[in-house]
Every structure is written in C-alpha cells, then in structure tokens.
C-alpha cells in the first residue's frame, strides 16, 4: 500500500531480453512504474526502501498467453483469484485466459465480465482471449470486432481445433481487417480420433491409442497455407514436433505473419514420463519423444518458437483418477512454468536471454500488451528469481485450486523470490525473505 515510497532493488542480475541487457545492477520502482534501472544503481543509492537481491535475476514480469481457468462455470477447479495467486508465485505478472469457460467467452459482455472479475479479485494482470467461433463449435464466426473493442487481446478456438478449412480461411480473412491475431490449436481431429498420447513405443507397450505428429503438422500446414492465401495473422498455439517447426520455419522465411508457441510440458517432458498410466501426464498436445523435445528447445533458442506458454489447465481429482483413456486432459503450470523453463537453461540446453524472451517481450509484442521489457516509466511488472535456490515441488502446496501438476516432486534449482505487479509486491517467497 506504500507504493508512493520509492523502492530500490539492488545487487541483482538485470536481464532484459528485449534490449539484450544482462548486467549486474539495480532497478528503482517509483509510483508503481520503473523509475530507473541499470548498473549505476548500487546499495549506496538506497535512501527510502531498499532490497538487496543477492545476485538473483531481475527480469520483466513473465507473460503467459495460455491459461485455462474455471471462471465462470467450473469455479471448483480454478477461479481468476486462485489462478492469479498461482501466477504470482510463479513469477507470472500477466496471463491470458482462454475462452473455454461456461459460458464461453464469445460475447462482449463476457469479456467485460472477465475484466471486471479480474480487477476485483486477481493480483496479477489478466486479459481475456475471446472465442473465434460461437460456443467454440467451429461453425459460426464470433463477433470478432465487438470482442476486440471490448478488450479481447486475441482470438482462439481454445482446446478445440477448427476442422472446417473454409471456416478457417474466412476467420483469417475477416480477422485480418481488424489486425486481430488468430491463435489456433492444430490437431487433425479425425487422424487423432480416440488417441490419448503420442503414437510411439510407449503407447504400443501400454496398449493405448496414439496420435501421430502428422495430426498436428497437417493442420499447421493447412493453416499456414490459408494464412498465405488471406494475409491473416496466425499463431499456432502449441506445437509439439520438429515437422511442424519446419512448416513454421518455411512460413517465416517467406515473410508470412505466422508465429507459434510451445507448452512448457512439451519442452521439459517426454512420452516416457507417462510411465505406468500416470494420468497427470495426459496433456494436449501429447508429450512426444526426446528427439522432438530437443527440437522444440532448439526452436525456442533460435526464436523460431516465439512464445512458451504454461498451458495451465486445472482438472479436479475425479477427472484424473480414471483409467488413462477416460481421464481428462490437462496439467496446471502457472506456478512451475518459469522454474521448469530455467531448468532447461541450467542444464545447458538454452541461453537465458532467448528463454526469457519467449515468456516476456515476445508474447507482449504479439498481443500488443504493455510490459515484457524494462522501459522507463512503464508499469513495474518485475520478477525476481534465483537460479540457485533449490526447492521441491509439492503439488499439495501449489496455490492453484487443482493439484494436477506434472512437476510434482521435481526438484528445481530456480525459485521465484518476489513478484511485482505495477510496483506492488504480490508474492514473496516465505523461505527466503531477503
């Protein structure tokens, strides 16, 4: 509440992927905005409040562009309030809620509802992504213009892929006039029919029907061709295999307005993690092989994959405590996305700057949001994360209302210490109060 008193963070590793800055220094938070930052800010400069960051990484607040919540319609799984506490604990200062709610976010009033509910209850920034088609049925176009005017940051069909190529073409064409971003989960539904995990050795051994990478690549390929045809802005929400990356790479080479994302689960885990029918690892897109995982990490490193998303999808115990084929899809991820991603860096798989870029300024640029970079005068959305403070994930203790965590019992080296939204500290790690 004492946001008026300037707060100085010193002895931090300032990492700003937007400017390529990675230096030792400090940052000044003034009136909820970034007042100053850089190597010249040292402990001696502390006059009012000051925090010694102990060399931890101070970076623009993490932006997650794919979060499913249960509000409205399934508040027992997750509310905007609980999701936001989970986000804050994971260093996420902005998340985008997906329109897969009950009712669906396919009406301007729903966009308004989400924004008001978030303002009233959430402790981080929340923006809605609205439905591309009414009720997410993939048949009738939603009111893209009105939804955009109400504040929808992009348009998606959520968990469901649009099967009808003509509808997809029309959506891209229409959205282009409004410069709206079309975000699409690529899955050829007939090819993936009945499938519950990756089509591979593990599925064969477990006797489970598998979905081949081709089910994804066929749709990415179709969509890229339609994006070329219409000139629309297209973003493949979560891709999971090298073949789809090739399609994206060739689209980018041709200068098409095509981007893509990858879910943290697909960057950190493989089909082998499914082990003995562990339903928490039943996710979409399915966890693939180690080769595909490495290709995805390389894609993030090269910038071919633009964003990393948590793909946070809370499911209750009843939906998961079923035989694998019948269990619900999805895993929570807001609180573990950043530590799990940093684990890739600490294992030497990827540099820090491209990794953080995919969770800060790139999603911000894609969605036209403030933040994602250290800029003087912009809201002080900041994440302070230590790269050397091991902790063990305990699903029970995670702040999400649902506990379907794929990283349960994992030990991470990286730990979020503090999260600031507009200069206000919304999370502080209890064990490491500095």
């Amino acid at each position: 509440m004492t946001d008026q008193t300037p707060l100085l963070l010193v002895n931090a590793r300032i990492v700003c992927p937007a400017s390529g800055r990675d230096e030792h220094g400090g940052a000044l938070i003034e009136n909820g905005a970034i007042g100053d930052f850089g190597a010249h800010l040292r402990a001696a400069a502390i006059k009012g409040r000051g925090i010694d960051c102990g060399g931890a990484v101070l970076t623009p607040g993490i932006i997650d562009m794919q979060t499913f919540t249960g509000e409205p319609g399934a508040e027992h799984r997750e509310t905007l309030a609980t999701a936001s506490r989970s986000a804050a604990a994971g260093g996420v200062t902005t998340f985008i809620v997906m329109p897969d709610t009950q009712p669906v976010i396919d009406d301007a009033a729903m966009v308004d509802y989400i924004e008001r509910a978030a303002r009233a209850t959430a402790i981080v920034n929340v923006h809605p992504m609205a439905a591309l088609t009414k009720r997410l049925e993939g048949r009738e176009m939603a009111e893209i213009g009105l939804l955009q005017a109400a504040g929808a940051v992009a348009f998606t069909n959520g968990r469901a892929s649009i099967a009808d190529a003509r509808i997809m073409r029309l959506l891209l064409d229409y959205a282009k006039d409004l410069n709206a971003l079309v975000v699409h989960y690529p899955e050829e539904q007939t090819l993936a029919r009945g499938a519950v995990m990756n089509d591979g050795e593990i599925a064969t051994r477990l006797g489970l029907p598998g979905s081949a990478c081709e089910a994804e690549t066929i749709i990415v390929d179709r969509d890229v061709r339609l994006a070329a045809l219409t000139g629309g802005r297209y973003h493949a929400s979560t891709i999971s295999c090298a073949a789809s990356l090739d399609v994206i790479a060739s689209a980018k080479r041709r200068g098409l307005r095509v981007t893509c994302g990858a879910a943290i689960a697909n960057l950190a885990l493989t089909e082998a993690d499914v082990g003995p029918y562990r339903t928490y690892f039943k996710v979409k897109p399915p966890l693939r092989t180690e080769d595909e995982r490495r290709a995805l990490v390389a894609g993030v490193a090269s910038g071919l994959i633009d964003v990393i998303v948590s793909n946070h999808d809370p499911q209750d115990v009843d939906g998961k405590r079923l035989p694998f084929e019948e269990a619900a899809y999805g895993a929570i991820g807001l609180e573990t996305m950043l530590p799990a991603a940093l684990e890739l860096h600490l294992r030497g798989e990827i540099e820090l700057l491209p990794l953080l870029a995919a969770m800060s300024h790139r999603p911000a640029a894609l969605l036209g949001l403030q933040g994602g970079a250290l800029t003087l005068g912009s809201p002080a959305d900041l994440t302070l994360v230590s790269l050397n403070a091991p902790w063990r994930v305990e699903a029970k203790k995670l702040r999400s209302k649902s506990k379907n965590a794929v990283f349960d019992e994992r030990i991470f080296q990286a730990r979020v210490l503090k999260t600031f939204v507009a200069g206000k500290m919304v999370y502080e790690d209890a064990a490491s109060c500095l």
Binding site: R205, L206, G207, L208, D318, R321, L322, P323, F324, E325
Partner: protein, 334 residues
C-alpha cells in the same frame, strides 16, 4: 479332409511331467499380477512349474485342495467373458476359495459410478483376491493402487492379459519341451490385442524368436522395439515356425475401416491348408478362443492334430490355480 486326421478325443499325454521339474522353493515376488512385463524369466518358469502340479491335480477325481480355504475371490468383469471368467471361477473353487462373479454391465457404468467407486465398494467386502477385466488399458494397475487385496489382471484394454500368455507358454512348453530357441508366429490383429502383447513379452523373456503377421493396419508401427519381426505376407511369416498363434478378429475392425471384409482377410491372413504347410511339419496351432471359423482359421485346422486349442483351455485352469497360489503366499494370515 485328405491327409489330415481328426484330433483324438482323449487328452494328449504331456511330453513333460511334473517330475521333470525339480521342486524349488519358488516365491512369487509381487502382491499382484498386472502384466508379464514385470516378470523375470525365473518368475515365469516358477509359475509354470507350479501349474504343472495343478494339471495333475485337475485330472484327479477329487480336484479340490484347501490352499485358499476361507479366502474370497471376486471376479470383476466389465467386459463379457465366458472362458476366462469360468476358468478363474473353477481355479478358485478347486483351491477352496469362495468365488463371487460380478459382471458389470454397460448400464451400471452409465449410472456414473467410476472404477474407483466400484473398487471402494468391493474393498469394503474384504475380498482377498480380485480378478478384473476392463475395457481400458491400465485399469488393473489403477485398481491395484486403491484396493487392499491382491489384483489379477484378466485383460485390460489393449494392454495385457498375463494369464493367457502363461497358459499359452505352459501349453507350448509341454508340447515342445522348452520355449527358448523356438520361432513363434502370432497372426492377426496385433495392434489391438492384449493377448499378443503379453505373449510377445513373455516369449522374448524366455528366449523365443517372435514374429507378428498381419496387414499393416493391424500391426504396431514400431514392431522392432517390441522385439518382434513383422510380416505382412503370411507365407513368409509362417516359413519354418514351430508355433502358430492365431488371434481372434473382432468384427468392429471392419467398421473402423482397418480391413475391408472378412473374406478378404481370410484370403490373406486366414490359416488354411495351403498356408499352414509353410510352418514346420511338427508345428502346433494355437488360438485364445473363441474362434471365428472361416475368418481367421479354416474350420478343419481348428480340429486338426496340430491344434492345441482345447489343451490351452485345460492349461488355463492350471495356470490360474498356480497364479492364485502364488499370490496367496503374500496374503495376510492374521
């Protein structure tokens, strides 16, 4: 049929008798039997040796033992089954257990009771051993985590059917003396078959060479990682094999466009007089039953001397008695 004899009605004298296997103090290492994948070659042989004794037991006038006296065995079948269920029922009864058969129809599943709810209800009835068949892969594993009793997987989706593989192995071992070094061809819908999966794992564990034969739509895409050689030409696949295992073709396979028709399937993958000649002259023909005469197997081959299909049924009871006794080693006594 010319040149072929009817199978004798009398049961075939086993090549190997119980005494051929020295009695060892075999201790089954697990609480449950969920699949062959977790068993070692020694575990498998241990179970087969136990089963040999039960073959003798089951051929006596008084077939009853009291190993499981006072114990309760529940047969929980979410899929209809006549053979496997009655085989487990007889096995349990011959060992002196009280056997309860529960067939869970589609209707009760539609009422919304989940597998876990059913398990909790049954758990309260304090069974000692639960035999379960379910249409979903991994269902037995899930139940074993929630139940206090021993769980036997009697078939879970397209995953495993361990007692079927064990009874097949017992049948082969008695006919051929040993399993190591044999070449076994499994023919038919490998992709959707739990019997095939369990047999592939078991035969590999015991050192047999395994081939799978079928159209590509019914074969797993990554056969080599399963330790099998895949053939889409049945003649080449049967060339020189010691054992032919036929699988039942499910009628649904036509509906889901995996094969065009039963007559085309029979033409290329049905076991008939011409194709069976490619196997070794002393090869045996197996089938888990129930057979589709004229779909996957020519009627007279099913009744030919090579056929051990009825012997498999007899071995089924012996193997299940052995498994029940093996699990009984770990049941609490007070």
């Amino acid at each position: 049929m010319p040149g072929l004899q009817r199978a004798p009605q009398k049961t075939i004298t086993p090549v190997l008798m119980t005494n051929a296997f020295p009695k060892t103090s075999f201790l089954y290492p697990y609480r449950h039997l969920l699949g062959i994948a977790s068993l070692s070659a020694a575990d498998i042989h241990g179970l087969l040796d136990l089963a040999e004794a039960e073959v003798i037991q089951s051929r006596q006038v008084d077939k009853k033992k009291d190993t499981l006296r006072g114990r309760t065995l529940i047969n929980l079948f979410f899929e209809p089954s006549t053979r496997t269920q009655s085989s487990f029922e007889l096995a349990g009864k011959r060992l002196g257990a009280d056997v309860l058969n529960m067939a869970i129809g589609k209707s009760s599943m539609e009422k919304g009771e989940t597998l876990i709810d059913t398990a909790m209800t049954l758990n309260a009835m304090r069974p000692d051993i639960l035999v379960v068949r379910h249409h979903a892969a991994g269902a037995a594993e899930l139940l074993s985590q929630k139940m206090d009793c021993a769980v036997i997987n009697a078939g879970d989706g397209a995953h495993e059917h361990p007692t079927q593989a064990l009874l097949d192995a017992l049948t082969v071992r008695r006919r051929k003396g040993a399993i190591a070094g044999l070449t076994v061809a499994i023919c038919g819908d490998i992709l959707h078959s739990r019997v095939a999966r369990s047999n592939i794992i078991l035969l590999n564990a015991l050192g047999a060479k395994v081939r799978v034969i079928g159209p590509s739509t019914l074969l797993p895409r990554n056969s080599s990682t399963m330790g099998v050689e895949a053939f889409t030409d049945m003649r080449r696949g049967l060339d020189g094999v010691d054992v032919i295992m036929m699988l039942r073709l499910q009628r649904e396979r036509m509906v889901s466009a995996l094969i065009p028709s039963t007559r085309e399937y029979f033409r290329f993958f049905g076991l008939d007089e011409e194709k069976v000649k490619w196997a070794k002259p002393d090869s045996i023909v197996m089938h888990p039953g129930p057979i589709n005469r004229g779909v996957e197997i020519d009627s007279w081959i099913a009744d030919d001397v090579r056929s051990v299909i009825r012997e498999q049924v007899e071995m089924g009871i012996a193997v299940r008695m052995a498994v029940l006794q093996a699990l009984a080693q770990h049941l609490p006594n007070d």
